[in-house]
Symmetry: C2
Subunit: 218 residues, 2 copies
């Protein structure tokens, strides 16, 4: 039993993430590993096969993470109960974890970049990119915030606008991280964003300047 198969996967993903699938040759992958391309074909039946196994592995990783963080895999429409009683604390923790995952985790970071490079020529990659990184998280936050407004955790506002205001800076900082080595700084910046957001929109908090926070709705 060898780990060569796994090393091929990781190395190929890393190259795909830099140059894009088409621009990476099988020789380049093999060369990086110090083997010949003939050896590579002992483990995968084609270049496309490597790509497919990468995607397969990411699906598994993502499913495992969803379970770990108890994020509902169904949409709000399918399972609204799962979106109730979500605390600000858990939202904050999940957001910070997601940021580190997509910027620091080697596999996830490479996979995200590869998705970005393939999004305009591969419909499945486009859908996956949108779902994991662009629109999906915002749609999720919209459902969570709608419930938080209903149960009084957040003040009255348009959930969609709120979700954009919350998630867009996360998304933006992920892209900034691609060309900024100082991860600590960006992580702190993200924390400040989250604090400022909830200071602004949480109903019961120190924020009482513009509106009295309790007992106005009758």
């Amino acid at each position: 039993m060898s780990d060569t198969k796994e090393r091929i996967l990781i190395t190929a993903l890393h190259l795909f993430a830099s140059d894009g699938y088409e621009a990476v040759s099988v020789s380049a992958i093999a060369g990086q590993l110090g083997i010949t391309k003939g050896a590579l074909y002992r483990h995968y039946k084609s270049k496309r096969d490597i790509f497919d196994r990468i995607v397969e592995k990411m699906y598994q990783l993502d499913a495992a993470r969803s379970r770990q963080y108890q994020v509902p895999e169904d949409t709000y429409a399918a399972a609204p109960a799962a979106y109730r009683a979500v605390s600000i604390q858990s939202i904050r923790a999940f957001t910070l974890a997601q940021f580190s995952f997509w910027t620091q985790d080697a596999f996830a970071s490479d996979f995200r970049r590869m998705l970005a490079l393939e999004q305009y020529r591969n419909a499945e990659m486009a859908a996956l990119y949108s779902q994991c990184i662009v629109s999906g998280p915002a749609a999720y936050m919209k459902d969570v915030f709608r419930e938080m407004i209903l149960d009084g955790t957040l003040r009255e506002a348009d959930p969609e606008l709120l979700a954009g205001a919350y998630y867009a800076p996360v998304f933006w900082l992920i892209q900034v991280a691609d060309h900024c080595a100082d991860h600590r700084k960006l992580q702190e910046r993200l924390s400040r964003h989250i604090e400022a957001f909830f200071a602004e929109y949480a109903r019961i908090d120190c924020h009482t300047e513009t509106e009295p926070s309790v007992s106005e709705k009758e």
Copy 2:
């Protein structure tokens, strides 16, 4: 005098924006135009030459737009005077124009996508992408907002946080637009974001509609 040279440029950019530079063959560019690749070499001396001319053209377009919108080409440190007396109105107009430019203008939209596809293997593209789309606009807004806080247009806040809160949703909506056909909807969503932002942070809390006629609050 022919327009073939220009048509090659546009067609090549469009293909580069979908598949990335390496994945597009000279034959494919020529084929799309209904000519042979030999003819293409009458107008450009290499495939890389086409790429370079595209970048050159974008530099020219960008400089022209900067002049048109009176956006300072110097940094704040080099020319602080240019950042004073910027109105909320002009910020709003410029932001909406930038959004339409990067999502609707054929050349700019294709160029932005090409930058995104080349950002991890080409340092110049990475810098350009960051400067035009990711970090640059936020850095600009940070300088503008710092001045706006000083002159009392905006309430006291961290300019950097403010710039992120303002620009990140613009950036995010640009990416959303890549896989959402309904541009009108996104444009409206952007408008709502801008209104909500200034409603939240503008000091003189008149909900400045498109025409600031009379202040309703003393």
